[in-house]
């Protein structure tokens, strides 16, 4: 997969003024500069790499630009995802991670980088460590659905990051907008407080528009323009989305620094263009033992269903044995604890001895539909003689027809018999049965059935529908 290359430029110390100066200067290298944290910013590399002829030249260019505005000591990291580039920038003097080494580079990183640079909850990271998942490589090796199961959306996100993708792509050009809010100010605003207030109203407006759709903004372009068309545009990104106050804080940072520059006029236009959205997480999700919205909704629905249908609401439970129709039973949902994830998982997990290795189990695929109650049928050969399973576990004669009530179905093929002696140690409950798969012709269509022979009679127990 062709991933977007990005560069992260990190300062050696937190300095708002320097970071702002650097961002303004780098606007000449590429647009759409994304603010990462209080001492780093991010540039999409695709355009500049082509323009300046290679990533190394871009890095040199960035360092030169930084020096020209008096910001010495910057470290530039280049990688194929935000996380990789951010970590690369922290390496001594910065480094370029080639696309071919992207995965190896990430795999070797400790999971603590998720906490430091990817907004993953420290509790989740500590839990990963306790589970023995110390590196991103180990996290990437775990099945995604498993992580999502245990950690909720955080698990999903961690897997995406660990496998080298970005939760939201870095784009060098604006995408179609998800939500656009703006305000025009006929009397231009000179005062930083007034601009911040105008920006905070816009942030509120944006959140208000996205909220009913169940969304939050993750990546926004905020632009301030003066009456004289000077403008300052920055991309703000947070993987879990911005609340109004979070975004206002960032806009305050952007505009206060910019107003300190020598502007020739007041601010006449403010806009927020939402580039990427995320489903709003109604609750803080994710730790072991906690659940996602889907689980909660399902439990509530099960409770309502139990009120309507009582014991008709059932959940699967592993029983074991060799009968493919009863290895899993359905038990009333009201009688088991469906809300305990460990218990629920255990309830449906087959035991240690996998049934497939047992003798007497039917081979191949199992019927999809149980016939309940079992229907008594007759199996006869071409001469009309009843077919039975002999003591040597053979058919007494080749089955020719299955007689189901008044209808006779031609047997196209039959397989088995698979004899089973169940509970032979228990005189009261012992059963000696033989199973047979057969393909019958019903209205010129081949249908497969599972039949059981017990005490010389045949029962239809399952259909492959």
């Amino acid at each position: 997969m062709n991933r977007t290359r990005v560069a992260v430029v990190a300062l050696s110390r937190n300095d708002d003024r320097e970071l702002h100066r650097l961002a303004q200067a780098l606007d000449a290298v590429t647009p759409m500069i994304e603010m990462v944290d209080e001492c780093a910013l991010l540039l999409p590399m695709r355009g500049p790499t082509r323009y300046f002829g290679g990533e190394r030249s871009v890095v040199d260019r960035i360092v030169a630009v930084a020096e020209s505005v008096g910001v010495g000591d910057v470290r530039v990291g280049v990688g194929s995802s935000r996380l990789a580039a951010r970590v690369a920038a922290d390496r001594e003097g910065g480094s370029i991670v080639p696309a071919s080494r992207h995965h190896d580079f990430l795999a070797a990183l400790p999971v603590s980088v998720l906490q430091d640079h990817a907004h993953v909850d420290p509790d989740v990271v500590s839990l990963l460590l306790r589970l023995g998942l110390g590196t991103l490589g180990a996290v990437a090796g775990v099945e995604r659905s498993m992580l999502a199961d245990r950690f909720g959306p955080d698990g999903d996100d961690m897997h995406v990051l660990a496998t080298g993708d970005d939760l939201h792509p870095v784009c060098a050009e604006p995408l179609p907008t998800q939500c656009f809010v703006e305000s025009h100010h006929d009397a231009a605003l000179d005062d930083a407080a007034a601009v911040v207030f105008a920006a905070s109203l816009l942030a509120d407006d944006m959140v208000g528009q996205l909220e009913p759709r169940g969304l939050v903004a993750c990546r926004v372009i905020a632009e301030f323009t003066t009456e004289h068309d000077e403008s300052c545009s920055r991309v703000w990104y947070h993987p879990h989305g911005f609340t109004a106050s979070m975004l206002t804080e960032r806009l305050r940072w952007q505009v206060e620094k910019w107003l300190d520059d020598d502007l020739t006029a007041g601010i006449a236009h403010v806009s927020i263009d939402v580039q990427a959205v995320e489903a709003r997480r109604a609750t803080q999700l994710g730790l072991w033992g906690e659940h996602g919205e889907a689980d909660r909704a399902a439990w509530a629905a099960v409770a309502r269903l139990v009120a309507i249908a009582g014991d008709g609401v059932r959940v699967p439970e592993w029983r074991g044995g060799r009968d493919p129709m009863s290895q899993f039973a359905l038990v009333p949902a009201g009688r088991v604890e469906i809300r305990d994830p460990t218990a629920a998982r255990q309830r449906v997990t087959p035991g240690e001895v996998h049934p497939r290795t047992w003798t007497g189990e039917i081979a191949g695929i199992v019927p999809t539909v149980p016939i309940d109650p079992h229907r008594q049928v007759d199996v006869v050969d071409d001469g009309g003689q009843r077919v039975v399973v002999t003591g040597r576990h053979m058919f007494s004669s080749q089955p020719g027809f299955v007689v189901d009530g008044v209808r006779r179905h031609r047997v196209v093929a039959c397989f088995g018999p698979w004899p089973v002696e169940e509970r032979w140690w228990d005189a009261a409950r012992r059963r000696r049965v033989a199973r047979m798969q057969c393909l019958v012709d019903i209205d010129n269509r081949h249908t497969a059935w599972l039949l059981v022979s017990e005490n010389r009679s045949w029962w239809l127990v399952g259909a492959y529908d």
Binding site: M1, R144, S145, A148, D149, D166, H168, P169, C171, L175, Q178, R213, G214, L215, V277, E278, A279, A294, A297, A298, A300, A301, R304, L305, I308, A309, G312, V313, R314, P316, P324, M325, Q327, F328, A329, L330, A333, I338, P341, R345, R347, V348, I362, A363, G364, I365, V366, T368, V369, P370, A413, G416, Q437, L439, R445, H446, T447, A448, Y464, D465
Partner: protein, 216 residues
Amino acid sequence: MSSPASLKQIPANVLSAANVTTLSRAVLKRDRSIPVAGRIADALRAAGLAGGLPRGSVCAVTGAAPVALTALLLAEANASGAWVAWCAATSPNVRALFDAGWQLDRVVCVDPQRDWVACMNACVGEFEIVVTQIPSTVAPAEVRRMSTAVSRSNGVVVVVGGEPQRPVSADLEFRVEGCNWTGVDGGHLSAQDMRVTLGGRRIPDPRPFRVVYGPS
């Protein structure tokens, strides 16, 4: 709930190649369709449906082996986190679902007995996937009401089996035209090779494909 309107307005040619990765990740995460795997996904993709079942749609699985096809159709979604309510008089053989890769702790089977409407009302919108058989006693108006509720929800309803003159008009219909059985020479049925036609309201020209139920 977010509406998939933004998706509908985008012409099909924009939703291709490079654009799709960008769009699907950033823009459409919530509106992402219900994931489907394997050849069914290929068939959906060929029909322009981004390889999944669109949320808010009613799908019908009919023909020769509807339950087997349903097991295949929903395995990926269920395994990746979706709850399934199987609201029908006949429950499936759970072992078959297990073999198809389902995560059984997110499966609930409901026998609606006499009150199918109330049970469906409790299921639609709460479970991402609801599988049902429509009893013949249910009035067509009730079925239409159910379809409307589905279209406003974030999930899908899969109607399994049913008569050709069934009162629900499905957005997608998977019709199993016939099955070839493999393993006939090997002494047991090892797989079911289904010939399926993908049709329905959203598919102007029905397209055939094949899918195999059983270990590949």
